[in-house]
Amino acid sequence: MEYEFDFKAVLAYGPLFSQGAWTTLVLTFWATLAGFSFGTVCAVGRTSGPRWLQALVGAYVEIIRNTPLLIQAYFLIFGLASIGIRLPIMVGVVLAMVVNIGSYTTEVMRAGIESIKRGQLEAAECLGFSRAQTFLHVILKPAMERVYPSLVSLYVLLMLGSSVLSAVGVEELFGISNRVQSATYRNFEVFIVLGAIYLALTLVLRGVFWGLGQVLFPRRRKLGTAL
């Protein structure tokens, strides 16, 4: 059997694809922002909090890292709905992504924070830095600088992983594709187009993070090293 490709029918849904791609990017943006903040707070708790907090964060990290995002999303979205907490779908989905990515960020940031030498903290104390200044300039920024490439990989993977959230009814890029498939019956072509769009989004996202890295860590740009 000779298979004839028909991309025209699929590409006619270009606006729908771009709408889905935009939703994917919006989801990834909020989940990255909130997930980074949450993960950083957890990493601080894990490295310098009281013992009970360290144990609690440790349990959170292990539980989330050893279960799939899809199960977490089902559990959070349908589970919360069953006890009467009905979140708007986008909020529920971002919540699931934040809980998921927060655990990975915690581990990566913890490694970054632990790589800061004690002497640096003592030096900050000698210079009369306040606790907040020490945390921001001596711990957080250098730690983030060291683990930035790992964080970028995490957030790019988060964007790719968000495709599974179409299963809870959010119309991101993959969710949109279901509609195009039902309308055109050109399943194979739809998946080829989807693959190309996701690949492009990956490159765009990596480019944006690279640019952000250049702005956030000018020292690294000057030295040209990974520090």
């Binding site: 050893n66 995002l69 599974v164 194979f188």
Partner: protein, 215 residues
């Protein structure tokens, strides 16, 4: 009734384990070839391997599932069984990541080792099998075991496109019948944890063990 549901969850977990093992074997074999190809002195082969890794790391697994499920139409095959499609997609996905891991591990064997092997008069094949591989296997084992956790978790999407019955799928079916998401998705989560956690612990302990040996 509840016993039936629990049995169905366990059956799903079995499906997950079967798919994970098949993926690790098939994806691992392809990944190894990809890693070797990336090290090839023939530039087009090395570039093709690098492109393979970039492409399949840049496309979500769900899309790869779709391509694996509908792609065989090109060969005149109308339908492919769910386990076959899921294994194909998961293996391609895993081979890109394992290929990258193993490429890094092969490269991390110190350069003087390659030079020493060359000085001893070993040919390329002997250098690889007798000097480089035995050393890189040690480096590659902890991240490979760690990657097994990612494989197990990723099998959860294989019901969405190809309809393979694994743990998440069975949990969803049970939830549709019982409307008890906390209980059944919680139990499914627990089963995933029971499969993945020992692998995570093993990966970390291997890392510590091999690090000590390296000092």
């Amino acid at each position: 009734m509840q016993a039936l549901f629990l049995l169905s969850l366990l059956e799903g977990a079995f499906g997950t384990i079967v798919l994970s093992i098949l993926t690790f074997i098939c994806g691992g074999a392809v990944g190894f070839v990809v890693a070797l190809a990336r090290l090839s002195p023939i530039r087009p082969i090395a570039l093709a391997a690098a492109a393979y890794i970039q492409i399949f790391q840049g496309i979500p697994l769900l899309v790869q599932m779709g391509l694996a499920y509908f792609g065989p139409i090109l060969l005149g095959i109308d339908s492919i069984p769910p386990l076959g499609a899921a294994t194909l997609a998961m293996s391609i996905f895993a081979s890109a990541y394992l290929g990258q891991i193993w490429y890094g591990c092969l490269l991390s064997v110190a350069k003087p080792q390659w030079e020493a092997a060359e000085t001893l008069g070993l040919n390329r094949w002997q250098r690889m099998t007798r000097v480089i591989l035995p050393q890189s296997i040690r480096i590659a084992t902890p991240p490979s075991v760690g990657f097994m956790v990612i494989i197990v978790k990723n099998t959860s999407v294989s019901s969405l496109v190809v309809g393979y019955h694994e743990l998440t799928y069975n949990a969803k079916i049970i939830n549709n019948a019982t409307f008890e998401p906390f209980l059944y998705f919680g139990l499914a989560g627990l089963l995933y944890f029971m499969i993945c956690y020992p692998l995570s612990v093993q990966s970390r302990s291997l890392e510590r063990k091999f690090n000590v040996a390296h000092r």
